[in-house]
């Protein structure tokens, strides 16, 4: 009997304690996040209200809370927002990890197949042109436009890359660039001819990425999509690991990458599309979080995936806290925060000696 188990060098047997610690940090940060903002609500009361809501009134007493408006601020405004931050952070890191494996390139992010420009085009059209008088489409508005844009572009990229045989990772990346550029120019065209200053500003704001539009009515769809995605990909580590080896070696290990690549991309595109529809494009999370986790836990997806999901959620909760508190009385778009934190971090990781994209 061999006792030895596969482990990465740096974390080793501390893996499970670290995962538990991350979970604990997320819970703590969530409570902190709902307690701060323009109205400061004491930590104890926030925790009471959260417990009360989460356990359906069994734990935590609303009487101790006392203040009705505190309850409303937390329940109506801040709770859905924290849930959004957690889910979108998880979702972006998930899709980033998957996309990096799919295109075998550690520099890929969830938007690599043109999703962001497609979603922007959809949102731009929805804002500046609108879907006409039809009440059904008007209801969904920007989110609907963005989702449709994201799905159409990723379908186009998939189709384009499978012309003339197998969809290789290089073809995928190049198709993504081409389709992305095309969508951006169409967006510019729409903006150029739009005689609507307010709408243009709205487009600009949307494209920065923001969690401000979070609300309870949007939580169910996002929760289902992201958690389902996490559930699926948490158990795909075998194929994801084989993907890292490239097509040639994967075939000899019995895995036809071309088929898996398509399935994974469709799933990732649907998840990313949903997130983009609700919050705009939030950059760098899907790139930087998988990177950091690979450095810490190694590239084996069995260990990488859970850690990435948790760290992604934690990262976005804190980015959201910063976006609400950095400038008093101003709700900065979260996309600005993630890029401001993300880019120097990324440069540091590249410059740092010995960093070799994955372990």
């Amino acid at each position: 009997m061999v006792k030895h188990r596969v482990r990465s060098d740096r974390i080793g047997y501390f893996y499970f304690p670290i995962i538990l610690f991350l979970l604990f940090l997320i819970a703590l940060s969530a409570v902190y996040s709902v307690s701060i903002g323009q109205v400061h609500i004491p930590f104890r009361q926030s925790m009471n209200i959260l417990l009360h809501v989460l356990t359906n009134g069994r734990l935590g007493s609303p009487d101790a809370v006392g203040n009705e408006s505190y309850f409303n601020i937390i329940y109506q405004i801040r709770m859905p927002r924290v849930i959004f931050a957690l889910l979108i952070g998880m979702g972006l890191s998930l899709c980033g990890t998957v996309m990096q494996a799919v295109v075998q390139n550690p520099l890929a992010d969830p938007y690599i197949i043109g999703i962001s420009s497609g979603a922007s085009l959809g949102a731009t059209i929805a804002i500046l042109i609108g879907f006409g008088a039809s009440a059904f489409f008007a209801n969904f508005g920007v989110a609907f436009g963005a989702f449709v844009g994201a799905v159409i572009t990723s379908a186009a990229v998939l189709l384009l890359s499978s012309i003339g045989g197998k969809a290789t990772s290089v073809k995928l990346v190049l198709s993504g660039v081409v389709v992305g550029a095309f969508c951006s120019s169409l967006s510019s065209l729409v903006i150029f001819f739009a005689n609507n200053a307010e709408g243009v500003q709205q487009v600009a704001f949307w494209s920065m990425g923001s969690l401000a539009p979070s609300s309870w009515d949007k939580v169910p769809i996002l929760t289902i999509v992201v958690l389902l995605g996490c559930g699926i990909f948490l158990f795909q580590h075998r194929v994801l690991n084989t993907m890292l080896l490239g097509d040639e070696s994967a075939v000899t290990l019995g895995i036809n990458l071309s088929a898996f690549r398509k399935i994974y991309m469709v799933l990732a595109a649907l998840i990313t599309g949903t997130m983009v529809a609700y919050s705009g494009t939030i950059g760098f999370v899907g790139l930087i979080v998988p990177h950091i986790c690979r450095g810490l836990f190694g590239a084996d997806h069995k260990r990488l995936m859970p850690a990435t999901l948790l760290l992604g959620g934690l990262f976005l909760i804190w980015a959201d806290i910063l976006s609400r508190t950095l400038v008093p009385n101003v709700d900065l778009p979260i996309g600005i925060i993630t890029s401001v934190i993300g880019s120097p971090l990324f440069i540091y990781m590249i410059v740092k000696k010995g960093y070799n994209f994955g372990g």
């Binding site: 084989t242 040639e248 075939v251 190694g298």
Partner: protein
């Protein structure tokens, strides 16, 4: 396990790369594939291990119809040590070798104690025990090749295909890799560049020229001065090496 590849044709664009090539490997036989660069050795091997689909022909591994079976089914019996094993991500040596268990695992199945024992045995055979937690990307060419060989051993194939496994390796690693493969006691089909190595290790040789089987037979039968000259377009004389008592080659004379 016996390999029977019959009348394979591979065309890429308009160019016919493999023309009517047939290769047989008997049970536990070490068969070599020799020929100049670009003669189609790799393509022929790829069309056997399903990386390329031949236009016509048949490949059977025992009773298994390779071209019509799933990649998974084939990879349970056939292991491949390929030519290019670079990647942009890093794994530890042990993780890399453990990937060799993939063909025997269901999608959601986790690795069991016996999988780790198989990995341990492969690491021992390739003398990589001390490399377990080393990062794969930090290894030298010869060490990387040993890791890939260990991964292929872990696959527990009945036939192993090697595509120029000793490329860029120094003499010691060339011997180590081929001896290790020979000791496995399974059927082997290997593309080789070094004719003296081919003489040492192979029971049977196929010489490939311009996508066709130019000659085949026991190494001493195939490796005549005429054949070597025709294959590589270089003058060559053969002799019996006084030290090894094996066939030797003197080129350019």
């Amino acid at each position: 396990m016996e390999l029977t590849a019959k009348e394979l044709h591979v065309r890429m664009g308009k160019k016919e790369i493999i023309k009517n090539a047939s290769v047989f490997v008997k049970n536990k036989q070490f068969v070599g594939l020799i020929g100049p660069n670009g003669c189609g050795k790799s393509t022929l091997l790829k069309s056997i291990y399903k990386s390329l689909t031949p236009q016509s022909g048949s490949v059977f591994l025992g009773d298994l119809n390779v071209l019509k079976s799933s990649e998974k089914k084939v990879s349970q019996h056939l292991g491949v040590v390929g030519q290019f094993n670079e990647m942009s991500f890093d794994l530890t040596v042990e993780q890399m070798v453990l990937l060799g268990r993939t063909p025997h695992k269901k999608l959601l199945e986790s690795d069991q104690a016996d999988d780790y024992e198989i990995v341990e045995e492969a690491l021992r055979r390739t003398r990589l025990q001390d490399y377990r937690t080393r990062s794969y990307l930090s290894l030298s060419g010869g060490e990387k090749q040993r890791v890939i060989l260990a991964r292929t051993i872990v696959q527990q194939p009945q036939l192993m295909i090697l595509d120029e496994p000793t490329n860029h390796l120094d003499i010691r690693y060339q011997f180590e890799i081929l001896s290790c493969v020979k000791q496995l006691g399974i059927s082997v089909l290997a593309a080789l560049h070094d004719l003296e190595l081919a003489v040492m290790y192979c029971d049977y040789l196929y010489a490939v020229k311009d996508g066709e089987i130019y000659a085949h037979g026991r190494p001493e039968e195939v490796l005549t001065p005429e054949t070597v000259e025709a294959l590589y377009q270089i003058k060559c004389q053969t002799y019996i090496n006084p030290v090894t008592k094996r066939l030797g080659f003197a080129y350019g004379v």
